[in-house]
Amino acid sequence: MSLVTLTVNGEGRSLDVEPRTLLVHALRDHLGLTGTNIGCDSSSCGACTVLVDGLSAKSCTMLAVQADGAEITTIEGVAEPDGTLNSVQQAFHECHALQCGYCTPGMVMAAMSLIDEYPDLDEAGVRSGLEGNLCRCTGYQNIVDAVLQAAATAATANAPAGSTP
């Protein structure tokens, strides 16, 4: 067994896992954070996407021991403690960007990372940026629109003081 120390959603956590334990199973089975879903076994679907030190990562592709010392953000750590959705979650809600919702946590995490990385996202950028996250329900159009809406919100928030939109 291996001792792994993580900061998950701002909270220090230590867990004793088999060395082969995937990060996603450590989060789900050992820490009870079941919001991160598993949709495949080939790193294709992105349902398990989380942020590792601020960057999106497919948590089924990473061993828990590889994340030792890292800061992890899962979908449970995204909304405000009172349940207020963050701008990406809110945009998904407003644009009807989810149906069954199984891909949604991974999609939201990937979108947050994408918006963070590319301040000037356009539609083509969103579509290629989310290529690693599969959704079977929505046909993606509303997801793309939601990410563009959230990106615009982020751009407005980040605009220098005094600048006009």
Binding site: E18, R20, T21, H25, R28, D29, G32, L33, T34, G35, T36, N37, I38, G39, C40, D41, S42, S44, C45, A47, T74, I75, E76, V78, A79, G83, L85, Q89, F92, H93, E94, H96, L98, Q99, C100, G101, Y102, C103, T104, P105, V108, V126, R127, S128, L130, E131, G132, N133, L134, C135, R136, C137, T138, G139, Y140, Q141, N142, I143, V144
Partner: protein
């Protein structure tokens, strides 16, 4: 999306004051799903549970000479390994159910949850492992050594139907499960073909598809050893049907069984079934007295969850010199796979009545033979029989257009059932409820900007541009709102087609709606609350919708076949009316008026002409609860139940126009525009309707362009992961432009039809017709699915006489 103003004006409004019905209300389901709060089966915390691992046949067809469990049992955490023979007593030899014996002489060989003696497909369960963790269960399953003696396997569908094919079930002496025919007047069909000016004959292949709901299946069976009860959690579309079938299969009292479908991550028909793992976990949990759980891996899902489509279609049209179709003949071979799952044999028959499409033809003949192969069983996949039918007729109509020199839109318009013909009795015996196919086509042509696209196409053809443009039409009509129980009886279906609902007004005037329809992404909670809130004149947030747990919702027929709104929604509507009827009697008593003199306005009953004399809904709810002063003969509480058995199907329809660019040098296809006009009757929530259409279109387009469950000649599934099976991403998806037409269904009081499958039904032929349209000047008349760059390139090269050799 805009509705048709004229149709809206002509039809009576479903409510006197529809505040919510028709509005784009955001979904109440979203917050739990957006924050990770929703619980799917694998999210359940079940201390002490044993994990099930399933050992699956690596051979398509093999005798099992022995199963060596020693290595598996030495793995830490593995507690038990059980073979099919070990387990057989647990289900007393009972097989997994097939509820649709389509003919009296249908062959339905026993399908045991775990095979005994012989494996019939790669993926067939041959043994199971119980272990204390999911990793140990997987290790254990991998360590079980099975001694197989491979046998000849029937893999290719057309070959399996030949007399010299290896047999999947030798004892049957044939691979044919059944042959089902619908030919009302054989002589008239033959006469029409003999007299036809144009005869179109086409063979189309419907490849097998893997449904690939994003949540793989999961099962957790939790026993209550002292009470003798069992709770079965399953990622299923059909908790109610699953409860009946599990009780019957295992011989346990249905009253001791509770089935819960928690959050379910999509289904598309693949979770409309009774699967081996549900029976195995239930049986073992009861025997061991501890929870037994299983979560499917994606590769396992490709093998062990049903697949869709799988047909060889021969379709023939007889038409006169003007391109008017006089008769249609369809001959199908339908791939059953190795066994019949819950409704496997009936799937092709859901299309059996629709091979004449939207067209007013005289005579009809349909014959389908269900064929066993050594492959994963097929069953319902989004559209289930109707996409196949629509594909065949819509491809053939384009061939007819080419043969007659008419445009695709003109050949369709000439043959459409006209708007004044509804209700229309079809040549296959259905009564189509409502529609205006010409108006829908006109709207679709306008939305697609057809003239400009044709001009662009002509320009590219003239300049011999390597990137050619194709415009593809698909007009569809489908039957949904499954289904009138008597019609199902006539088709030998093993259950009814009703749906149940309860509307329960709580003492504080908050409302619980209990529905038998079981959502897995459709937004039922939002839509049902809108329907009830409108009728009662209250806020949708005051309406809670309960579902998916047989302890809470004991009766229901669940969610499939685009039935939830047309059947389940109507049951809710009816139950709400009954609540209002009772409330009216109580209100009349309080107002000392006659019930007939009351009107219900803005959440209050008032005496007509005397608005000051009124009583609010909340007062009636509390009066019904206290029961201090109810009229004689009126029972306390305000609650009503309704079970709606629809008198007819509903018939959504539409026309989709796909525009594609085909790179004639590489064969690459890009969908550059997608315009869809759908008529699903009245829309409760257009936001949800559009979402269903978007997703449906992409699934249909994916059959045309990307998806294919490829089997090797020896029966190995070569596409058993999402690396090899190409579920499209946002990068491949086109932008969809939607419009709608509203012809309310006269079958139900809200005038609704259904929209869950329409996109999938329409999109596949629209995309392929567009590709063929782009390439017809090069001599290409057909492109097989999926139209991969290589397939398209070969079609071009073959047409150019270069044979497509690389």
């Amino acid at each position: 999306m805009t509705a048709t103003a004229t149709a809206e004006a002509e039809a009576p409004a479903p409510t006197a004051k529809a505040t919510h019905f028709g509005s784009r209300r955001l979904r109440r389901e979203d917050p739990a799903l957006l924050t990770g709060e929703a619980r799917f089966v694998d999210d359940l915390h079940l201390p002490g549970a044993l994990w099930l691992g399933v050992v699956r046949s690596t051979e398509a067809h093999a005798v099992i000479h022995g199963i060596d469990t020693d290595a598996a049992l030495r793995i830490e955490g593995v507690t038990e390994v059980l073979t099919g023979a070990d387990l057989a007593p647990l289900w007393g030899g009972a097989a997994l159910p097939c509820a649709w014996p389509v003919t009296d002489d249908m062959h339905n060989p026993p399908h045991l949850p775990v095979a005994v003696g012989e494996a019939k497909y790669a993926g067939d369960a041959v043994a199971v492992v119980l272990a204390t963790s999911r990793y140990a269960a997987a290790d254990g399953a991998a360590a079980v050594a099975v001694d197989y003696e491979p046998k000849p396997a029937a893999i290719d569908l057309a070959s399996a139907a030949e007399p010299d094919s290896p047999l999947v079930h030798e004892s049957l002496g044939t691979n044919a499960s059944y042959t089902w025919e619908l030919t009302p007047d054989p002589d008239a069909v033959e006469k029409a073909f003999a007299e036809a000016e144009h005869v179109i004959e086409e063979r189309f292949i419907q490849q097998r598809l893997i449904p690939a709901a994003m949540e793989p299946r999961g099962v957790a069976a939790v026993p209550s050893p002292a009470g003798g009860e069992l709770t079965l959690y399953s990622a299923t579309q059909i908790p109610h049907i699953l409860k009946v079938m599990t009780a019957v299969t295992l011989g346990i009292g249905e009253n001791k069984l509770r089935v819960v479908a928690p959050a379910v991550g999509g289904g598309f028909g693949s979770k409309l079934n009774v699967y081996a793992e549900e029976i195995i976990c239930s049986a073992l949990a009861l025997r061991k007295g501890v929870p037994v759980r299983w979560t499917e891996s994606r590769s396992e899902a490709a093998l062990a969850t049903i697949q869709g489509r799988g047909q060889v279609q021969d379709i023939a049209l007889a038409a006169d010199a003007d391109g008017r179709v006089k008769a249609v003949k369809a001959r199908l071979l339908a791939d059953m796979g190795a066994y019949l799952q819950l409704v496997t044999p009936g799937i092709p028959l859901l299309g059996a009545f629709l091979y004449h499409g939207c067209y007013d033809i005289g005579h009809y003949s349909f014959v389908c033979t269900g064929v066993f192969t050594n492959k994963t069983p097929t069953d319902a996949y989004r559209g289930a029989g109707r996409p196949e039918a629509t594909y065949a007729i819509e491809r053939a109509m384009d061939s007819l257009a080419a043969a007659t020199g008419l445009t695709p839109e003109e050949v369709r318009a000439r043959n459409f059932i006209s708007a004044d013909a509804f209700p229309y009795t079809s040549c296959a015996g259905l009564i189509f409820d409502s529609g205006d196919y010409h108006a829908v086509l006109d709207r679709a042509m306008a939305l697609a900007d057809l003239d400009a696209r044709r001009a662009d196409q002509a320009r590219r053809r003239a300049e011999q541009n390597p990137r050619q443009l194709g415009i593809g039409f698909s007009s569809y009509v489908e039957m949904c709102g499954l289904a009138p129980s008597r019609v199902l009886a006539s088709l030998n279906y093993g259950a009814g087609g009703w749906e149940a609902a309860t509307v329960r007004v709580l003492p504080t005037a908050k409302v619980q709606v209990v529905t038998g329809a079981t959502p897995h992404g459709q937004g039922h909670e939002t839509a049902w609350s809108m329907i009830v809130a409108d009728r009662l004149g209250i806020d949708p947030d005051d309406v809670e919708v309960l579902h998916s747990d047989t302890a809470v919702s004991p009766t229901g027929m669940d969610t499939y076949g685009s039935r939830s709104l047309a059947v389940g929604g109507t049951a809710i509507y009816m139950a709400t009316e009954r609540v209002l009827d009772k409330a009216r009697v109580i209100a009349a008593h309080r107002l000392e008026a006659s019930p007939e003199d009351l009107e219900y306005v803005d959440g209050s009953f008032r005496v007509r002409g005397t608005p000051a004399s009124s009583v609010a809904f909340g007062e009636i709810a509390f009066a019904a609860f206290t029961a201090h002063d109810l009229p004689d003969g009126v029972e306390p509480n305000l609650e009503a139940h309704a079970t709606y058995d629809p008198p007819n199907f509903t018939f959504p329809n539409g026309t989709h126009v796909a525009t594609v660019e085909v790179d004639t040098e590489t064969g690459a296809v890009e969908v550059v525009d997608y315009a869809a006009v759908d008529d699903c009757g009245r829309q409760v929530n257009p936001l949800i309707v559009e979402g269903q259409i978007h997703g449906g279109i992409l699934q249909g387009a994916a059959q045309a362009l990307y998806e294919d469950a490829v089997y090797t000649d020896d029966g190995q599934l070569a596409t058993a992961s999402l690396v090899d099976y190409l579920v499209p991403s946002a990068a491949e998806a086109p932008r969809y432009r939607l419009d709608s037409h509203v012809s309310p269904s006269p079958t139900n009081p809200m005038g609704v039809k259904g929209i869950g499958e329409a996109g999938t039904i329409a999109a596949t032929p629209a995309v392929i017709n567009a590709i063929v349209d782009a390439l017809r000047p090069l001599g290409v008349t057909d492109v097989e699915m999926p139209a991969s760059p290589q397939t398209v390139w070969r079609a071009i090269e073959t047409a150019r006489g270069r044979g497509g050799a690389s």
